[in-house]
């Protein structure tokens, strides 16, 4: 038997994935969740393709722990790879079982039947369909993985741009988001978070007036009211009556990168190959990325209801099973007593506060069994209490021969781990768990294994042919500022650093920066995206204009995922402005090309925002973010024009698209800025202040 995709090996029964109970429809159950990336649509396309159904006949069930296959976390741009490959085999095998049954019933050879819109037709016009056959075909059987999916040449749904099935509800303002759920008897809660890391509550009122419930457990404090507004106002009133004991637990922001490089850390060699020859000189540079916030437009939200000691949670988590595992530990109950149902939230770009707010809701709801209790985070908490994408320092060195050719390349990265996701350890990582009277220590963030793409070291190994290289990662073992996964993890800063450094090396060698790259990339798919992006952006033969520049960035995400090249055009005479981004990508077999373009484009714009504007500010005690005024993001007038070009490589495995464009965009902007002004800015964000520092250096 061929090796099954992991998602299928873990959830082998066909019936776990789909059923034909609804007339004229197939219900597909997946463990991956919709987070605004359009995965429901792309996976429905795969199901429609392999089952020979119309797209409109696919119903994607909301993932819930009591019905969905456990597919872990929706992260790492892996849903098409994990869920898609499992679903493709499941649907191909299901179709084959039904085809055999149809052949028997129609008394015809299977190969003489045609299948369309779920109807099996014999040559003489007699017909049956999935729903008529369903009683005779048992899906309570393990997938063999032996039925080959359709060849790419037979595809009619996959590879066509399919409008997103979830978008109309969102355009028309319908009740779609978790924020909109209104369950019978629902009450509302708000949490008053400790103002800083390690703060403890010295004094708080024992009770509230006007029928407001007060819940306290150690340093965890919340209010409960019948209406959302009453809860919000009660939280405001209560905040002014609390006394916290705080301490200076954060690093000195002026010395953040020194702290990163000197803090206790665990070192890991990520790659080491070749024997370095001694060079004529060494070029070295340090690149820096600050803490970044998720900064979703919608605040995190959850609803919890306890009944007879069992808990039901509605959540926009990225991993329903992982959340369940951590809730079970934090609440001290068996995980079989907890059910979690996924409901869509606002945009999710990594491990945000969705899991944290679920624990908040569960803790408050426990005080009123039978009542669903909804908690929504404040804007401040959304920006400042969720885990951040960690700060990183990256030291790059190249030993060069007399002509500037690279003899050896060294890359060192210092960072906290890039994952504090729940469900992976003996103690929970949920925010409030460390505030409870019976508190769980805050767990240090980890880096997932390099084989799974790594964390801080993601994309730290350069894609170029180099005679010798050494890549090392230092995971900082102190986490005063809570860090976890943000879109692309370490890839964003590593690609920014590597691709900036490549431009520096090309200049030192007197080589053209585009030619330098093409000469050192053996993989034709890598060269193809670079050639396409530069051709479409009009790279060659451009007239130089003062204050304007063009730059290139390239990476293959996780070194084994999607290929992406970005060309940035910037104008930097007065303000630093990215005018245009040209993105070229190869994601293997594209399921929904327009959905992929949307993801690549959105990633590029988000990366432009991170690169130009974003930085979490703090002092020795507190995160200095109260609202959007303290964490500006790119707005409509400044958002660059983006053009996305997809290479369709034919029959190649699908590669996730959601995170591929971010690192290359940052590097392209930095390189364009250098092209415009002759200044190399190595610390993000690339704002006026950093530009002035670079000019002085």
């Amino acid at each position: 038997m061929s090796k099954l995709p992991q998602s299928l090996a873990n959830n082998p029964k066909l019936g776990q994935w789909l059923d034909f109970a609804a007339p004229g429809r197939v219900t597909v159950r997946i463990g991956k969740v919709e987070i605004g990336q359009g995965i429901k649509t792309a996976l429905a396309q795969i199901a429609a393709e392999e089952l020979d159904l119309a797209f409109a006949q696919i119903r994607m069930a909301a993932p819930a722990t009591d019905t969905a296959p456990d597919e872990g976390v929706t992260s790492g741009s892996l849903s098409i790879q994990d869920s898609g490959s499992a679903l493709r085999l499941v649907c191909a095998e299901t179709r084959a079982l039904f085809l055999a049954q149809a052949a028997q019933r129609l008394d015809a050879a299977p190969e003489t039947l045609t299948v369309a819109d779920g109807v099996f037709r014999a040559a003489d016009g007699r017909r049956t369909d999935y729903w008529a056959l369903a009683a005779a075909v048992t899906l309570d059987r393990a997938a063999s993985g032996l039925v080959a999916p359709k060849p790419i040449t037979a595809h009619r749904v996959v590879g066509q741009s399919q409008p997103r099935s979830d978008l109309p509800d969102k355009v028309f303002g319908l009740r779609r988001f978790i924020h909109d759920l209104d369950l019978p008897g629902m009450v509302h809660g708000r949490v008053l978070r400790p103002p800083s890391t390690g703060a403890s509550l010295v004094s708080a009122p024992e009770a509230m007036a006007d029928g407001i419930g007060l819940v306290r457990d150690g340093n965890f404090l919340g209010v409960v009211a019948d209406s959302e507004q009453a809860a919000e106002r009660a939280a405001e009133r209560l905040a002014s009556r609390l006394e916290w004991r705080e301490r200076d637990a954060l690093p000195d922001p002026a010395l953040l990168f020194d702290w990163l490089k000197t803090a206790k850390a665990e070192m890991q060699i990520v790659a080491e190959r070749g024997t370095p020859a001694s060079g004529a000189r060494t070029h070295g540079a340090e690149f820096r990325k600050p803490y970044l916030a998720h900064a979703s437009i919608g605040p995190c939200c959850a609803i919890a209801r306890w009944e007879d000691g069992a808990l039901r949670v509605w959540s926009h988590t990225q991993g329903i099973f992982n959340l369940r595992a951590d809730l079970a530990i934090a609440l001290g109950i068996g995980r079989e007593r907890i059910a979690i149902e996924h409901v869509e939230g606002a945009g999710c770009y990594g491990h945000n506060g969705a899991d944290d707010v679920a624990l908040d809701a569960a803790l408050l709801a426990r005080t009123m069994p039978g009542r669903p209790l909804r908690v929504q985070w404040s804007r401040r908490d959304e920006l400042a209490a969720a885990a951040f994408g960690p700060a990183m320092a990256i030291r790059l060195e190249a030993d060069l021969d007399a002509k500037g050719g690279v003899l050896a390349w060294r890359h060192e990265v210092w960072s906290n781990g890039h994952s504090s996701r729940p469900g992976r350890a003996e103690t929970p990582t949920l925010l409030a768990a460390s505030d409870l009277a019976k508190s769980f220590p805050r767990r240090l963030s980890i880096n997932v294994a390099p084989a799974a793409g790594g964390g801080a070291e993601r994309n730290a190994v350069p894609p170029y042919d180099l005679p010798a290289l050494k890549v090392a990662s230092h995971r900082v073992l102190d986490m005063p500022i809570r860090a976890s996964a943000l879109r692309g993890l370490g890839a964003f800063a590593n690609v920014f650093a590597i691709e900036s450094f490549v431009d520096e090396l090309a200049a030192l060698a007197g080589e053209d920066r585009l030619a330098w790259r093409l000469a050192r990339l053996a993989d034709p798919r890598a060269r193809a995206v670079i050639e396409l992006a530069t051709a479409r952006a009009g790279w060659s033969g451009r007239a130089r204009r003062p204050g304007r520049g063009i730059g290139l960035g390239y990476a293959r995400y996780k070194s084994n995922g999607a290929y992406c090249a970005v060309v940035a055009e910037v104008e930097a005479e007065r303000e630093i402005r990215v005018e245009r981004l040209t993105v070229a990508a190869d994601v293997g077999l594209a399921i929904n090309p327009d959905g992929i373009a949307n993801q690549l484009e959105g990633g590029a714009v988000q990366a432009a925002s991170w690169t130009l504007l974003e930085e979490v500010r703090f002092d020795r005690r507190r995160i200095a973010i109260a609202g959007w005024e303290d964490y500006p993001i790119l707005r409509f007038p400044e958002a660059p024009a983006v053009a996305v070009h997809l290479i369709r490589p034919g029959d190649q495995p699908s590669l996730g698209a959601g995170e591929a464009s971010l690192g290359p965009t940052a590097a392209a902007i930095a390189n364009a800025l250098h092209d415009a002004l002759g200044l190399r800015v190595r610390q993000l964000p690339l704002d006026r202040a950093r530009l002035a520092q670079a000019a002085l250096a």
């Binding site: 409008p163 997103r164 028309f172 303002g173 988001f177 437009i297 993801q599 409509f636 024009a641």
Partner: protein, 150 residues
């Protein structure tokens, strides 16, 4: 107050937040809560035709006046040209910002039926989008403007 062309009696007191009343008592959840302080545009509504953040308005300020929410712009059965254009351009990812953006765009097109790209971008300057759907959204507004002129 007149909500989406219909007179509605609101039981909530004058000092109640219009956003809470729209989403709660009136069941119009299309107006999204984003920040609660008028900084993101997710809860934009038209108050007598003017773009306002519902989170910064009280019921008292809206009494006797006309409030238009996303539900008043159009519906799946009768989409507003902006809604049709957003779907044609697939202009959105998570979609959380789209209600407020459509309100700001509708106000723009009401006073300026033939805007250029810069004017569309300027009209949306107070609306935040985190997914990076800006370009598609701007294209959709321009497409809607064209459709409304013919």
């Amino acid at each position: 107050m007149i909500v989406n062309g219909r007179a509605r009696t609101v039981a909530a007191p004058d000092e109640a937040s219009l956003l809470h009343v729209l989403r709660g008592e009136l069941g119009l959840v299309g107006t999204r809560h984003g920040c609660g302080s008028g900084q993101c545009g997710a809860c934009f509504v038209l108050l007598d035709g003017e773009v306002k953040a519902a989170c910064e308005l009280t019921v008292g300020q809206a009494r006797g006046r006309s409030v238009t929410t996303i539900e008043g712009l159009g519906s799946p059965e009768r989409p507003h040209p902006i809604q049709a254009a957003l779907l044609e351009e697939q202009a959105g990812q998570c979609g959380y910002c789209l209600s407020g953006i459509q309100i700001a765009a509708a106000a723009l097109l009401a006073r300026r039926p033939d805007p250029d790209e810069g004017q569309v971008r300027a009209a949306l300057a107070r609306n935040l989008c985190r997914c990076g759907a800006h370009g598609r959204i701007v294209r959709a507004v321009l497409r809607a403007a064209k459709a409304m002129r013919v």
